[in-house]
Amino acid sequence: MAEHKLIIIGGGPAGLSAAVAAVDAGLAPEDILVLERDSEPGGILNQCIHAGFGLHRFGEELTGPEYSGRYIAMARERRIPILCNAMVLSLTDDRRVTFVSPETGYTTVEAEAVILAMGCRERTRGALSIPGTRPSGVYTAGCAQRYINIEGYMPGHRVVILGSGDIGLIMARRMTLEGAKVLAVCEIMPYSGGLARNIVQCLDDFGIPLKLSHTVVQIHGRDRVEGVTVAAVDEANGRRPIPGTEEYFECDTLLLSVGLIPENELTRGAGIDLDRMTNGASVNQFRETSAPGIYACGNVLHVHDLVDYVSEEADTAGRAAAARILGESAPVVRSVKLSTGHGVRYTVPERIDLAEEPEDVRIFFRVTDVYKKVQLVVETEGGEVLVKKAKSAVAPGEMESLTIPAAKLAGVLKSGEGGIIVKLNETGGDK
């Protein structure tokens, strides 16, 4: 069985950032193998030709291919081996990786550390159980994006979009620019799941209506989509469609942007603990999962709204994996669990593994609902505030973060506090 010190599963922004960070932390590039299932590295960014990436990371606005291109270049400069067309079929908790590729055939390798960077997939019509016929012309937004931006064809001309996630908003604009008529974007929630800037730049600027608290209740058409029925939903009654509010849209295409699901089939197969809220592995601040030496970062861990944060998270995982391999990890003295309090849906990490001398730890989290005028708080179970921040508005679509200073964590270590809670306090104003 071949051996590698570090295997990174996925050659998108997460996998490439992690590989670069591992080399920069002292790991020899030849000890790394990046396995990418597509024919070239870069991941989904390769088809995201719109701008808006890299503002935090590079201080400038890049397109998706430009952003991934920078990381591909950094990986190439460091001579990091990337094997494309390589699909990992199984992973064990003791870091045996079975994969297949045209170049290597069907192979099993062992590693001292593995970084999971498989990204996420789009939720489908089936997961929503939208009733009706099953014609051609029902696409996930990412699938339609590939047809336009990679293959150079139009997936349809009169379009209804279900779901106001960022890819749906981007595709509303893209289809319009290509000459299609986008009739409406329907969102079952009373607010959009996408970034505020995308609502303005992709819908408002083109006069595309956003129908909040609406969903598609029926798909029509035998061979190709001929129309969809849209209805308002009752917020007070489990978001069930309200009879009598149905509206028929004649269209040839229905695009779905109804959520992203971290691709954790390999993770599950390895018996790694998953967080039910993120659908990703449960990790410590170094993004190490419940299986020692297996790390996770990027959208396989939790769905990010900005790739800049994916890169940052991947750096953390890459550095930690290198430290483990190089024997530089500080021993863990105590593990502290992070839990969610009022208004917080999930946190990453889910635990902090404290060493003798703790470092700053940045906590990422999402809120459960749209709130105005809040205070975001991280505190101990005993009520000691570790860090807090006031915000005029928060929404589930935008990830929040707070950094716990090292000194505060040293205090937690000393005091023997049991756990840490992340919550929000409503400080007035309407919800």
Binding site: R37, M87, P102, S129, R146, E151, Y153, R222
Partner: protein
């Protein structure tokens, strides 16, 4: 070309009949309204090879189901199609259901179903840990099996093509005529001619009987739609065998069953509809199935549904299948009103129909050079079903088997190329999906369908805008406007 036999309909009954005839020295054509074999009821049902205790003793259904169950397993094995002998339980929820279970046991024994027994709650729970605590006993039928109904039907169709049968797809018979002892079937554009005609047109079989010239045909068909959910493979192990609810006044009830591919299937309901081709699902129907499934398995995780679909059964105005020689038109044999257990019965139904053709005067001799496999060089076994050693060897032999195109179902480029080259070339997204399961997994083709479409386009020398999801009109993309 004058065929000996024309078969109308490439569902399981028509295809099994064509395949059986392909072992003989006759020239056969199958005309099919849809774009592929197995696109009607054969593609959308519970995927069960029923044991045969349900049908009333003495009926064709009883006889053909029990024999079909055995033949189907043999055929799956001969053509390299998965079939698992998981058995089935008819679950009773209290003493009120016991007389019905006993009735089914008696019917099964009369029909010759092997090894039937009624088991108690303790044994049932040991076999099916997720079953409702209110399930008190079951009729256990170990010979019931699961397979892929369209998979075996397509394999049988390819076996038939390998042995000289011609298939005409997108050929909906709109008119028929007869001159002497030759029948002509036309779709308005093309005409095929043959000495004998077998009507296996499923939900349209009564309409086809009329087109063939039957007056006062005794059978009418009421299409009955049934809706289903498929759940993710992560929960496919929640049932070890097929779990039926004890039939009652409310109908046969909703079943929960593992599929041969490792998913869980839940359904169906049954509602009469007017349009036999209307395979749409409804919010009410899907809710009804959810409720029905919870009765048998309270913790069935319906949030793990990856898709839902509907099939349409050809329900006749009589209890039994109508398998008869036409009383009015010489050389015509009807297979009408073949609903459940039509699939399980189909290999035996084929034998019966071939017998009727012989009664009509068709002379049959064994073909000395009959090829028993799906293609001349053997059966296609998908890469992901091979052993580790075989997988490695296959990749060395051809690197295309090392390239995964469908990630959820582990379908390789080599498999896709095999299907483009098959006796019935797979040239649509749905044809690939049915043969290889590309696009049938949890992402439902979101990732692989553009890649599959591109591969089909490249290999067939067509533009991506000429590739369909299934039949004509189901286009995927159009050319982009220039400028």
């Amino acid at each position: 070309m004058l065929y000996d036999v024309l078969i109308i309909g490439a569902g399981c009954t028509g295809v099994m009949t064509a395949r059986l005839l392909s072992t003989k020295n006759v020239k056969v054509a199958v005309v099919e309204a849809g774009p592929d074999a197995a696109v009607g009821a054969t593609s959308a049902n519970s995927a069960i090879v029923h044991a045969g205790y349900d049908a009333k003793p003495g009926t064709l259904k009883a006889k053909l189901n029990v024999r079909g169950n055995r033949l189907m397993k043999e055929l799956c094995s001969a053509l390299g199609v998965e079939c698992r002998n998981v058995g089935s339980h008819v679950v009773g929820f209290g003493d009120a259901d016991l007389p019905m279970l006993k009735e089914l046991l008696a019917r099964g024994q009369a029909n010759g179903v092997p090894d039937l027994e009624i088991i108690g709650q303790e044994k049932l729970r040991a076999m099916e840990p997720n079953i409702s605590p209110e399930a008190m006993h079951s009729l256990w039928a170990p010979s019931a099996a699961i397979t892929c109904p369209y998979g075996i039907t397509i394999a049988a169709a390819e076996n038939a093509v390998t042995n000289g049968v011609d298939f005409y797809f997108n050929f909906r018979v709109t008119d028929a005529s007869r001159a002497g002892n030759v029948h002509y079937l036309t779709n308005g554009e093309e005409t095929v001619a043959g000495r004998y005609v077998v009507n296996c047109a499923g939900v349209h079989s009564a309409e086809v009987a009329a087109i063939l010239g039957e007056n006062d045909f005794p059978i009418t068909i009421t299409p009955r739609r049934g809706e289903y959910f498929i759940l993710d493979k992560a929960v496919g192990g929640m049932a070890n065998s097929t779990l039926f609810v004890c039939p009652s006044d409310r109908g046969k009830g909703i079943l929960v069953s593992p599929t041969v591919h490792g998913n869980l299937i839940v359904g169906p309901n049954a509602y009469p509809i007017s349009d036999g081709d209307d395979k749409s699902t409804t919010a009410e129907g899907l809710a009804e199935i959810t409720a029905g499934a919870r009765r048998i398995m309270p913790n069935v995780p319906m949030n793990m549904a990856i898709t839902s679909f509907a099939g349409v059964r050809a329900t006749p105005n009589q209890y039994d299948f109508y398998l008869e020689i036409s009383k009015q038109i010489p050389g015509v044999v009807h297979a009408v009103g073949v609903e459940s257990p039509g699939f399980a019965s189909s290999p035996a139904t084929a034998e019966y129909l071939v017998g009727l053709l012989e009664e009509c005067g068709l002379k049959l001799e064994d073909k000395p050079d009959y090829i028993p496999t799906r293609r001349p060089d053997g059966n296609h076994i998908q890469w992901n079903r091979l052993t580790d050693e075989e997988k490695a060897a296959k990749c060395r032999e051809n690197p295309a088997y090392g390239k995964i195109v469908c990630r959820c179902e582990t379908v390789t480029e080599g498999d896709l190329l095999d299907m483009l080259d098959a006796p019935i070339p797979a040239v649509t997204i749905d044809m690939m999906k049915k043969r290889l399961r590309a696009g049938m997994g949890r992402c439902q083709g979101g990732f692989c369908s553009p890649r599959v479409a591109v591969l089909i386009a490249e290999r067939t020398g067509r533009g991506l805008d000429e590739i369909n999801k299934s039949g004509p009109g189901s286009w995927l993309v159009t050319k982009r406007e220039e400028g």
